[in-house]
């Protein structure tokens, strides 16, 4: 056994292993990744680790209204490390629950938008011709309008709601994925292995999704990391403007909006801390995304 391994040629890393190793070479990106994992874990674990359930009105004490950070509750004696809002809600708990909604909206819309965009993009590239130019016309048309405007139109017509925000984000984002997948698939389609698959008389669907698609994944990952940060920011903006998530399920953006009116009177913590949580999340994802772009870019590979 040991003889075989000794005689084996130079060990070749699998692509995933190589990407992981190169990714780890940049300490800033690793910090970003760790931050993001911690944030995601906090968001998922919110109901178990938050000091109180901020939406259970029986746990709130109006006496604790708008306490600055570090104050102790008059009733229960618990310490509010990040202060409380007007209803006496612990901001730390509010932020943990808010993160949960922000990340939920962003990741569900990301998943749906990638699925739709990928199917449309691969189909357009594989069949080409009129279908391709028709689909790309729609994509170009949509991308010529700012994302925030399209999302606002939809939400102004549909009304508030977590499901509606997700729908709006999917409609805004699918076009980016469709364009990305199509542009890499159109290059891949001309390669020999696709011709070979055709000669085997494999079905179109099988060639599209088993042969073509896996080779279009790297640029998709890069666009996805950029887009998920964009999705979180856009959702926060929409909720801040009052057209996003409902008051009963506040995301970080809505928490910031709730505290906004008190900002001018010096009660800064209701807005500032959710804002910091939002910013740290977005920056962490961007750090990861920047590094992934370098690692996955074939032009930078030796």
């Amino acid at each position: 056994m040991s003889q075989i391994t000794a005689n084996a040629p130079v060990r070749v890393d699998s692509p995933a292993r190589r990407i992981l190793r190169q990714f780890m070479e940049d300490p800033v990106a690793v910090i970003g990744l760790i931050l993001f994992v911690v944030i995601a874990a906090l968001a998922i674990a919110a109901p178990w680790i938050a000091p109180q359930n901020p939406y259970d009105l029986t746990q709130l004490d109006i006496m604790d209204s708008a306490l600055p950070p570090g104050e102790v509750s008059f009733g229960t004696g618990q310490t509010y490390w990040l202060g409380t809002d007007r209803q006496g809600r612990d901001m730390l708990s509010g932020i943990l629950y808010g993160l949960r909604i922000s990340l939920l909206v962003a990741s569900v819309s990301l998943g749906l938008a990638i699925t739709i965009g990928t199917i449309v993009g691969v189909t357009a590239a594989y069949f080409g011709g009129r279908l391709d130019s028709f689909i790309m016309r729609i994509v170009d048309l949509q991308l010529s309008f700012p994302a925030i405007l399209i999302a606002l139109i939809l939400l102004a017509l549909l009304g508030r709601g977590v499901d509606k925000v997700i729908l709006a984000l999917v409609i805004v984002q699918w076009a980016y994925y469709a364009r990305t997948v199509r542009s890499s698939a159109i290059v891949e389609r001309r390669k020999d292995y696709i011709d070979a698959a055709r000669c085997l008389a494999l079905s179109d669907r099988r060639i599209m999704f088993r042969h073509l698609l896996p080779n279009c994944v790297p640029p998709l990952i890069v666009v996805a990391t950029v887009q998920i940060a964009q999705a979180i920011a856009l959702e926060a903006t929409l909720s801040f403007l009052g057209v996003g998530v409902p008051i009963t399920e506040p995301s970080l953006g809505l928490l910031i909006a709730n505290g906004y009116d008190y900002l001018l009177s010096g009660v800064y913590w209701i807005s500032l801390f959710p804002g910091i949580a939002l910013v740290v999340t977005i920056v962490a994802i961007n750090l990861v995304g920047d590094r992934l772009r370098d690692v996955l870019n074939p032009r930078l590979q030796k």
């Binding site: 010529s144 405007l149 139109i153 801040f240 403007l241 009052g242 900002l263 804002g275």
Partner: protein, 325 residues
């Protein structure tokens, strides 16, 4: 050239039609148009009269025809809140938004290009890295959050500038503008910076990347070898050549400024049409929402068309490749 113009004009009309269909579908098909277009406090007789005027008792395709015909005549319904034609109310707010967008554009160019060139000339210096880091933040952080920080620092903590509103306005070329009075100017600075930050970051990145590329060209090396002053090399040889892509981006992003102004106007209570849109959404004043959307789409499409046409006049390669494609 004529072929290109006709083609491009056709695309623009298609974009406007597509948006009209979307808005129409949203208002007429998804919701009940009686709820959407008629004031909930109207009497039964008023409802019947409005339904007849808007043709809501007719089939859907006829309704769409009426909607388009009215829209072409500038009739996009009357506001529930103000009781006046929705388009008039929006046009009254248009100058405030345009002033904000133009000042923000000037700021983003005047600050963005020098910073980008500086960072491009010395990419590894501390200043260069700081500028790039700042532009990444300006790029990725939500606009409303940047605006809130500006208010917190400059209005609440330092107390130098007012936190919102438009301040005193004065007449200029028949329009009410803020930037000519001291009070108006102090109100204008923070929102304009807020709106400018995103574009500024974009311009910095673009100017930096192009400066790095251009500085390696032979003609720049030759200019330096001739003994020209560093100032002249940068101002003439580098700046002229990076302006082509920068100007394109500025043109294309001008339209989206109007849309981004929605956020800035809401944060700073700037009385433009973006704030009007958000207020109307909250008050369910739907005719104003519809009118805003149609007008904004028209503005964005027109700007894009204008930029493309000017650009194709300057650079013949574009219309040639368009004609082939």
């Amino acid at each position: 050239m004529i072929v290109y113009l006709v083609r491009r004009l056709g695309q623009s009309l298609l974009a406007i039609m597509a948006m009209a269909v979307l808005v129409f579908a949203g208002v007429y098909a998804i919701g009940n148009p009686v709820d959407v277009l008629i004031n909930p406090e109207a009497t039964q007789a008023e409802i019947a009269a409005t339904m007849q005027r808007l043709g809501l008792d007719r089939p859907l395709y006829e309704q769409f025809g009426i909607f388009v015909k009215n829209a072409l005549q500038g009739d996009l319904g009357s506001s529930f809140v103000y009781g006046r034609p929705a388009l008039d109310i929006i046009l009254e707010r248009l100058p405030a938004t345009m002033e904000l967008a133009l000042v923000a554009l000037v700021l983003s160019v005047a600050i963005g290009i020098p910073l980008g060139v500086w960072a491009g000339l010395r990419p590894d210096s501390i200043a260069g890295r700081t500028i790039m880091g700042g532009s990444i933040l300006g790029f990725s952080l939500p606009n409303f959050w940047q605006g809130m920080l500006l208010i917190l620092v400059f209005a609440v903590i330092l107390g130098w500038l007012p936190a919102g509103g438009r301040g005193e306005t004065t007449e200029f070329l028949g329009l009410q503008v803020s930037f000519l009075t001291w009070d108006g100017l102090t109100h204008l600075i923070l929102p304009a910076i807020n709106l400018a930050l995103f574009k500024m970051s974009l311009i910095i990145r673009l100017a930096r990347a192009n400066t790095r590329e251009v500085s390696l060209q032979d003609y720049v090396k030759f200019a330096r070898a001739k003994g020209l002053s560093g100032r002249r090399v940068v101002m003439v040889h580098i700046l002229k050549n990076i302006m082509i892509p920068v100007v394109t981006i500025i043109g294309l992003e001008l339209g989206s400024m109007v849309a981004f102004a929605i956020v800035t106007e809401t944060v700073f209570a700037w009385p433009g049409m973006g704030k009007l849109l958000i207020d109307s959404i909250n008050l369910l004043d739907r005719p104003v929402i519809v009118a805003y959307l149609m007008l904004t789409v028209l503005i964005i499409v027109s700007i894009n068309l204008l930029v493309d046409v000017i650009y194709s006049l300057l650079d013949p390669r574009i219309r040639l490749s368009e004609m082939k494609g």
